[in-house]
């Protein structure tokens, strides 16, 4: 975006100098983008609206089901009241926060240590290790989930949040590619210089590499912190359907609607739960947007 400043000052004159077809295509681009934005925001806004929808039947009970009108006839906070008073939602939220914090710390440490070693230490088994990691990544994750379930059972760990933390973070070392891509861009000369100065490898990593690795640390931490809020398959298998008090938000909210009996009358309460979960996550994403974009582009583009 080298010409950013230019465009700002010259827009007016430029606009009048444009040919007609250019003007039309520009207006067209705006219209198209606005239409697309509406399409993308339409379902999100709908969930938010439903969270605040407070409509009543003739007999005074709340209408919790999906209704055919998009805009609620009446707004209120009743769904949130029900969510916090009559469901396990606060417990689910606390569970998820607990799992997210610990799996974030563990995953980030494992992931980045592997990424650094794979990028900067040319040891003998490096290529074989990388190939093994690729091959293991190709197995569908939850094929092994069943086995993990039984391994945890044998260890007496099933249906605990600790088990879930281990599931999320133990294999984190295998996802080192993005981090490796980042460390690849750190000049080798920086490390060589430190070695010549007599710094040990641990010190090089601790006091030279880590301080300049903020983008990748933030990216990895963000990804692993948000994973437990989004995942619902692992949590569902490991924690079991019956243990409502152990669920994470995703599992809990899913079962609220689609448990043994499909109960669509709690849709508005479900929507309120969704808003409570999505709000902090979205805020985090938006706040760290720069790092997210940097990380996801670097990782997948360069490979």
């Amino acid at each position: 975006m080298s010409d950013k400043t230019n465009t700002k000052t010259d827009t007016k004159t430029k606009f009048f100098n444009q040919t007609r077809s250019e003007k039309i295509s520009k207006v067209g681009a705006y219209i198209l983008l606005i239409v697309l934005s509406i399409i993308w925001l339409y379902p999100i806004l709908w969930i938010v609206l439903n969270a605040f929808r407070t409509e009543f039947n003739a007999d005074g009970t709340m209408v919790g089901t999906v209704v055919s009108h998009y805009w609620p006839k009446q707004f209120g906070l009743d769904n949130f009241k029900i969510l916090f008073a009559n469901t396990y939602f606060p417990v689910w939220f606390r569970n998820t926060l607990f799992v997210a914090i610990f799996s974030c710390i563990l995953s980030t440490m494992l992931n980045l240590s592997v990424a650094y070693v794979m990028s900067k230490v040319k040891f003998k088994m490096r290529k074989p290790f990388m190939n093994i990691a690729i091959v293991m990544g190709l197995f569908p994750g939850f094929m092994s989930m069943i086995a993990i379930y039984y391994i945890l059972k044998a260890l007496g760990l099933t249906q605990t949040l600790t088990a879930l933390i281990l599931c999320y973070s133990a294999g984190a070392g295998l996802g080192f590619y993005v981090g490796k891509g980042f460390f690849d861009t750190v000049p080798q000369a920086l490390i060589e210089a430190a070695r010549i100065d007599g710094a040990g490898e641990a010190r090089i990593f601790g006091s030279i590499i880590l301080p300049i690795s903020k983008p990748i640390i933030v990216y990895t931490a963000l990804m692993s912190f948000t994973a437990p809020w989004m995942d619902f398959i692992f949590a569902r298998v490991i924690l079991g359907e019956q243990n409502t008090h152990l669920h994470t938000v995703a599992v809990g909210l899913y079962y609220m609607m689609y448990g043994q009996i499909v109960d669509t009358s709690r849709f508005t309460v479900f929507a309120a739960g969704c808003v409570c979960v999505a709000l902090p996550i979205v805020a985090l994403f938006m706040y760290l947007q720069k790092y997210y974009i940097e990380g996801s582009t670097a990782g997948s583009v360069k490979g």
Binding site: T7, K26, A29, L32, L33, I39, W40, L41, Y42, P43, I44, I47, V66, H69, Y70, N111, V114, Y116, V117, L138, F139, P140, F142, S144, M145, A147, I148, Y150, I151, A154, C167, A170, G171, A172, G173, L174, T185, Q188, G200, A202, F205, T226, M230, I233, L253, F270, C274, V277, A278, I281, V282, F285, M286, Q289, S296, T297, S300, V301, K302, G303
Partner: protein, 466 residues
Amino acid sequence: MDKNNNGIARFLKKISKPFIRFYNRFMDGSLGTKMSHFVMGSGNVYHGQIIKGLIYFTIQAGYALFMITCPKVNNTPLGYKAFINLITLGTEEGDIFTPADNSMLMLLFGVVTIGITLMYLFAYNSNIKSSYKADQDIKNYGKVTSFKQDAKEMLGNRFYITMLTPAALGAVVFTLLPTIFMILISFTNYDKEHQAGLKLFDWVGFNNFTAFFTNPTGEIAARFLPVLAWTLIWAFFATFLNYYGGILLALLINRKGLKGKKIFRAIFVLTIAIPQFVSLLAMRNLIGEYGPMQKILMDIGILSEPMSFLANATNVWTARIAIILINLWVGIPYSMLLASGAIMNIPESLYEAARIDGAKKFTILRKITMPYIVFITTPYLISSFVGNITSFNIIYLLTNGNPKVTGGYIAGGTDLLVTWLYKLTIDEQQYNLGAVIGILTFLITSIVTLVTYRRSKSYKEEDAFQ
């Protein structure tokens, strides 16, 4: 590996190397090194490295104890008995008084014991190496390294081992071991009729695999190919529509002189940030029979009566197309971000040169922008194809694999291989069939990856950017 003969010879040489080294060390080493072939750590003790020697000895003693005493977990032994059990998968049929052997745990513990044995062998080899190194140190420097020095080395030149060990352990226990376990399950008859701990199950060879192609009753075989076909169709459309859709959107947003780039981009990032179970379940209800979309479509006359797109049993393609369309909503923002990154990286000089040559806008787009984006994002394309083959959330949350189809063998009209695998194992306890599907999925994804990834530039020139 250009010449085959050469390759085989080199391969033989490569695998015989450790054994030759093993032999040489034994012949060449001091008495301590020779001793450490039998009693671990004795070489180190011989050289005065007491702590190191004791650590090695403890490993050996612990392993021997483990193998001989066969500690029981959940009534199933580990140790040498686990090897026997791995072959028999249990012999006690069980009655009212004695519980049946747990074939599943026996299989698992067999694998665990093999793993522990491999680690023991690794430690055994490193014990000899360590003693041999002490021999060399005495020869060269006249003294051996102290324990403190060795410990310090773990933060120095061998720091990478310190860093890799926890991650490797985690990956072995939570990824490698379970994967091997499930691969083995696919060769057994572990299913609903043979529940672990209630009834023994046994090795059945390749029966489960042949069932997918030539089952006498034909149930699974008849379902397998349609599910596979739909999986591939889905992966193809989901990947390429999202990919090119994302590129077009990125081109649109990154248009020269367009205002509000940041706002538009933020809108699409917003949809990435929202957990999928929220957005997908919202979609499911939004376009569902009672949702507002139906009313809109009826108002403008596209539909004459409410119609459930995702559960329409008369034609599975209604649900399938709906899923692919909804997936555009989910996936385009990702590829838009990537393509944006690529577009911003295109050197301005390329455009200048083209403009000087009098190239039209469309020509620039076709000859410079598009090739550049495609070149740079190819690895993403591959990984997203693989990701789509194994994508679970979108199907499970939108349709649960439904609508049901006749003779479905649990697989519904929109089930992918992976959701079928999930249903077979979690809901139906057909572990063996689930494992076979897992292996077949792995074969597909690995073929796709090997063929395309190894050819791609970013793999060949892995170090080119350094």
